[in-house]
């Protein structure tokens, strides 16, 4: 069993209105020491696979096709082997 931890974020050139609002609100409540905010998605998938490479290949494909919108998002992931429960 493998666990994939996947991070999906907007590309740097894309305006992220969500992160903007959070940053402004922190500043408004006196927390302007927070200098940058990134707001992304985080996924964990557990999957059975022949080996780590196979798992990585499948996860990469799932990210590209489904979890990330590659027109405006980038993704990265890591994969760890898990002991069977």
């Amino acid at each position: 069993m493998y666990k994939a931890r996947i991070y999906v974020n907007y590309k740097p050139s894309v305006l992220d209105p969500k992160a903007e609002v959070i940053k402004n609100t922190l500043a408004r409540t006196g927390q302007d020491n927070v200098q940058s905010v990134l707001y992304g998605k985080y996924f964990e998938l557990e999957l059975a696979a022949a080996d780590k490479d196979a798992a990585a290949k499948q996860v990469d494909n799932i990210c590209d096709q489904m979890l990330a919108n590659v027109n405006m998002e980038t993704y990265r992931f890591d994969i760890v082997e898990e002991a069977r429960a």
Binding site: P17, K18, V21, I22, T25, R28, T29, Y39
Partner: protein
Amino acid sequence: MKAAVLSFPGSNCDQDLLWALSDIAGIPADLVPASATDLSGYDLVCVPGGFSYGDYLRSGAIANFAPVMAALKKHAANGGLVLGICNGFQILCEAGLLPGALQFNESLNFICESEPLTVVNTNTAFSGDYQPDETIHLPIAHGEGNYYADPETLAAIEAKQQVVFRYAANPNGSLNDIAGLTNAAGNVLGMMPHPERAVETLLGGRDGLAMFTALKKQMEGAAYATRRA
């Protein structure tokens, strides 16, 4: 007798609510910006629908940090009437003035529809002009109206009869079909359906009007009581 309609950046039902209160129900009402810090002088404070601050983090989450919220919490703690509709309901939950939270609709889609509701509690300041177990139709328009509370909270809500409106055909997955409920004290009501959209026959129905007439009576009575005291 006076009502306040709060207006957060991104609120978009504030004018509709103001119109329903003042022009239709005859309750004098002011629009009060989120930057205000004082709500004294208002008997009823309404938190309208919309997408406060874009609802970008979670619906209602950012509004909780607006300056006016301290005054709203004070108003509620003093027993003042508070009505939150749609985004207003979400804000009241985020602010801890009502129990639970509103999650994405089960379908994950926004739903705009006229929904049948059952009025399950007419012993509140908000619902006294409805008949017990009356079925009414009110519009809903939301993407995150799926009411959630953990089992203990839910049990407490039911035990204290805080639920005022239940969906007759649950559109969004809300636990116990909850469409609207009050706090334990009964002076704060939050609901996803829009009574302010149902106060004119021209626009398709008047089932929401009884809520405003009940509130008016309540406030008139209260104002009379204060005058006597």
